[in-house]
Symmetry: C2
Subunit: 404 residues, 2 copies
């Protein structure tokens, strides 16, 4: 068995870190000059490894292994959130380069705009063949409003064709990523073998009451949409623990009362609520509970609540054979310092999982810090995970697992 060059891997990460440097992190929004510089940097590394490298019309980059035989696809994304970390995305791409440099038959891939400056996962969706030209026409930057078309033109990508992946070429897709949480760190572990990427079911609850004077309207007659929202959310708080899965999360990220003035009874309330799990029956149970709570609110309250489903993504389980290979490699390289865990956040891997067997590996995140320039992971942990990834990739390639 070969071993990857972890020193070179770390040097690559630090070199990439300088492009768009911001304090101890990086500011490389999608299609910005720094982001395009990082993409050119990556193309050069891929060519150095002898891969056939190209950047396509959405900014996706692929470095294709020139030889015959089964391949792995390895990669992640390279742009960052604003003023964010040096590892989120970059880690998985540079790991792919390291595996290619070590001689494994891998294609290295870098998906554009996983971070969603213009549209979440447009790179992995384009590579999957599900991103239409019409959709590109409609997208713009969520911070400053520049259209995606303008950004692509300014980045020199206008008119370039967009490639789609051929699943038949690959045995599977591996993505190495930082955990962005504290599960590993809090247990003193080094390696997280990801079981799958949770589905996110997102809802908007709109409550209509009657706007009125806080002093002149009695408690008996008022129709306070804010209070109905509070009672509904309190009911969710009580009921969801009774029906959730072991690792489910549920979150109300936003409550907006109208008009939101101190002396006016709110006539309207909007709530954004979501829950996440990797298991569809659990998700369905939580949705049934949510619907029952809204129904009961409408039976009791003088306000009306309408539950609107905004989106329901599909969980993306990781492939059992790939997980086994990762776990076995972890036990050999970091014995007792690994565990299986779901990914609560979305990743490019969830789109790859629709095309081919996919798996993710997590490194610890110091303090769980993510989407912030202070994001960090110990170099020792980065190196250990590269070695685990490499050994698992070798084993999986050599196994009897058929091509997807």
């Amino acid at each position: 068995m070969t071993a990857p060059d972890t020193d070179r891997f770390l040097r690559d990460l630090h070199e990439l870190r300088k492009i768009g440097q911001f304090r101890t992190g990086v500011h490389r929004p999608t299609y910005s000059p720094e982001d395009m510089e990082s993409r050119r940097w990556l193309l050069a590394r891929l060519e150095e490894c002898g891969l056939q490298a190209e950047m396509d019309g959405i900014g996706n980059i692929i470095g294709r292994h020139p030889g015959p035989g089964p391949k792995l696809l390895v990669g992640s994304h390279i742009e960052t959130q604003n003023q964010a970390g040096w590892l989120d995305g970059a880690l998985g791409v540079v790991a792919g380069v390291a595996l290619a440099r070590a001689g494994l038959p891998v294609d290295v891939i870098c998906f554009a705009d996983e971070e969603g400056h213009y549209g979440g996962f447009i790179g992995s969706r384009s590579a999957s063949g599900t991103l239409t030209e019409a959709e590109i026409d409609g997208l713009s930057n969520r911070y400053h409003g520049k259209t995606l078309r303008d950004a692509l033109r300014e980045a020199g990508l206008e008119g370039l064709p967009r490639f789609t992946l051929d699943p038949a070429r690959y045995k599977g897709f591996f993505e190495l990523h930082i955990e962005q949480g504290t599960q590993l760190e809090s247990r003193g572990l080094q390696v997280g073998v990801v079981t799958g990427i949770v589905a996110i079911w997102q809802y908007r609850i709109l409550i209509e009451g009657m706007q009125d004077h806080a002093g002149g309207t009695t408690m008996a007659e008022r129709r306070d949409a804010g209070l109905a929202a509070v009672r509904l959310l309190a009911r969710i708080d009580g009921e969801f623990p009774m029906v959730c899965g072991e690792r489910s999360t549920w979150t109300c990220g936003r409550i907006a009362l109208e008009p939101g003035a101190q002396s006016i009874i709110p006539g309207r309330a909007e709530v954004l609520f979501q829950f996440r799990d990797i298991d569809v029956p659990t998700l369905e149970r939580m949705e049934r509970t949510l619907r029952a709570i809204v129904q009961e609110s409408n039976r009791r309250e003088r306000c009306t609540a309408v539950l609107e489903t905004m989106s329901r993504s599909v969980p993306a389980p990781c492939h059992p054979a790939m997980m086994d290979a990762l776990e076995q490699a972890a036990e050999e390289i970091a014995p007792g310092a690994h565990m299986r865990m779901p990914s609560g956040a979305g990743h490019d891997a969830q789109y790859m999982a629709r095309l081919m067997p996919a798996a993710m590996l997590f490194t610890p995140s110091i303090g769980g810090i993510s989407h912030h320039w202070a994001e960090d992971t110990k170099e020792e942990d980065l190196a250990v995970n590269l070695r685990v990834l490499h050994r698992a990739a070798e084993r999986f390639l050599a196994s009897n697992q058929p091509l997807s």
Copy 2:
């Protein structure tokens, strides 16, 4: 006993209604050209009645009865909220004119900016002697930001002195006003004898948690400030009915979560909460309950809640002898069609109550509509209330009630 000229009274109201007319209501923001025109209209009416009329440096208008002997002070305000009603404020001023015209020894007063375009109740506060020049320097329009000084200058009021009332001149202050609620209408009543103006105790609750990723952070470790706010408000919802008074109101007008994004656990929450009652021991009991709830939240939650008192106004009880006079007159003129009730909203009368005996009379509001151009009251109810006010004023003047 004399009787007021209700036909003339209604004609006056309709004439005033045309100044700044907006649909079926009026748009007369304080110190606007329409507002100043309405003030000049009022000065003319006062002079017609033989009163010595003046407008002062804040826009307050007083028409002084020239004769000797005990006087009553009667009035309200004349500006309106934006695109609002024809009766809110105007009713009480025109009623004062009607009483003067009927020969009662009344001074008619019109307080500037009760509606708070520049600062709530600056007119009644100025007339009470509690509005300083420094305060005027600091005020500006809440909608468009023009300074109060600029507005006064443009209205031609710059440099004029401001009068303060001499309480010794008056037996009491009467204010006729629309109810702005539905208590009278829902009971089929015509006349509300106001028991007093409630105090408003206003709070801000700031909750600090930890902003984090909705998917990557487990339920056990997250510190969701929005959820802590919901639980705290739900506790208030449960406890306040156990300690409140018969007519208390309590309202959360605003909940603001930071950052307020669908996939981010809120790290901060701000709640604006207030309660109102006319009875100080009741207010104190509600405040003790609020403090206990915040304390318990801090014992149980992983977030910290800080309770900040923004303001605590003082209830303004109406004078018993004046209320008796109003009630007796109501029983004679509208038998069985009246009741006693507190005012849940603030009025100029609450400032007058600090200087002299004060009382208010409410007419019904159709549909409880207020601060809207559709605000209205049946003319029959307006006329009945003028007659009740007139008879009560006559009786109270003639009674043994000493000067304040």
